[in-house]
């Protein structure tokens, strides 16, 4: 909807701020990669930062923050629920890790 989008169009300043934050968070991720953490801890930290970056992209670059709430409620919970359901088997990877002979 062009009229709706125009009334909430991202200002250049806000766009640049979001872009700068995305670069900073990427820098933090690269820095974290060079600190010796276990794979599990790294996975949690990196995915946490990536989720923040994804939320910034969806909210501002993809304009979701300025759309009608019904659209957000249709898209986001469906993604979260199905992705969480896909992750149900994930703890099995830790069981498998402890079963390995090495």
């Amino acid at each position: 909807m062009s009229t709706h989008s125009e009334s909430h169009g991202l200002s250049s300043k806000l766009t640049l701020t979001i872009w700068a934050w995305l670069l900073v968070l990427t820098g933090v991720e690269v820095f974290l990669a060079y600190i010796q953490f276990s794979v599990g801890k790294m996975l949690v930290m990196l995915m946490g930062l990536s989720l923040v970056k994804a939320a910034l992209i969806m909210a501002y670059f993809m304009h979701l923050r300025f759309e009608k709430r019904t659209l957000v409620l249709t898209i986001v919970p469906a993604l979260v629920v199905v992705a969480s359901t896909l992750s149900v088997f994930f703890p099995d990877s830790i069981r498998l890790l402890h079963m390995k002979p090495w």
């Binding site: 909807m1 062009s2 766009t15 990669a33 670059f61 009608k68 993604l79 896909l86 830790i94």
Partner: protein, 210 residues
């Protein structure tokens, strides 16, 4: 709401006339495609993470130079191309045709730079003997997951560049308006969004420690 006829707005919801989400049909269609594609990548990345955590001898071959430096610059290229895409959408909404084309072309430059760097990285790995089915450093799943996931993402970048090029031509001919550019932008931002997960999972979790 230039593309929605007043007739449609007068129709009831059961006749498909009103817009319950207050967005045009093209934009809603793109969002639904993005949800389905996001779940495809989610399944691949969760499957990869499962293998990564459960395999203690997973190779960690990526040195700061060239792999991590290359992939960080690739991330910069994609993030910057998202920035130019937002500026392109803003220009389209102002009916600034020349500005829209300029920003779309800069977005294409970002996408092509990403693909060029990625191909260079792929050929470095081919040179070291890593393919879809083999990996001289240990578990063969490393090559399968690396090329499978980055390959699917690269395909999305490639189709995104084609989509952007078509959009630039369409805008220059006056065929496409602001809504078309915005929908194209949604796809491009999604490609960027997926890389925000691929980069840490594939590259940063396989960094070579000194």
């Amino acid at each position: 709401m230039a593309n929605v006829h007043a007739e449609e707005l007068r129709m009831t919801e059961w006749d498909g006339g009103v817009l319950p989400y207050s967005v045009g049909h093209k934009k809603l269609g793109m969002w639904l495609f993005i949800v389905s594609d996001a779940l495809t990548f989610s399944a691949l990345l969760i499957g990869y993470s499962y293998l990564r955590v459960s395999t203690p001898n997973w190779p960690t071959p990526f040195h700061l130079w060239p792999s991590i430096a290359f992939s960080s610059v690739m991330t910069f290229c994609l993030l910057s191309s998202s920035l130019t895409m937002v500026l392109g959408v803003n220009a389209a909404q102002r009916n600034d045709r020349a500005g829209t084309i300029k920003w779309i072309l800069l977005t294409i430059v970002g996408g092509v730079a990403f693909m060029g760097l990625h191909l260079k990285e792929w050929f470095n790995l081919f040179h070291e003997g890593i393919t879809l089915i083999s990996n001289p450093w240990g578990v063969p799943q490393f090559g399968a997951t690396f090329f499978g996931i980055t390959g699917l993402h690269m395909f999305h970048v490639f189709t995104g560049v084609l989509y952007l090029a078509g959009m630039a031509v369409g805008v220059s001919r006056g065929k496409y308006g602001a809504e078309h550019v915005e929908v194209c932008g949604l796809y491009w931002h999604f490609v960027d969004l997926v890389w925000m997960f691929v980069f840490p999972l594939i590259y940063l979790l396989s960094v070579k420690m000194h």
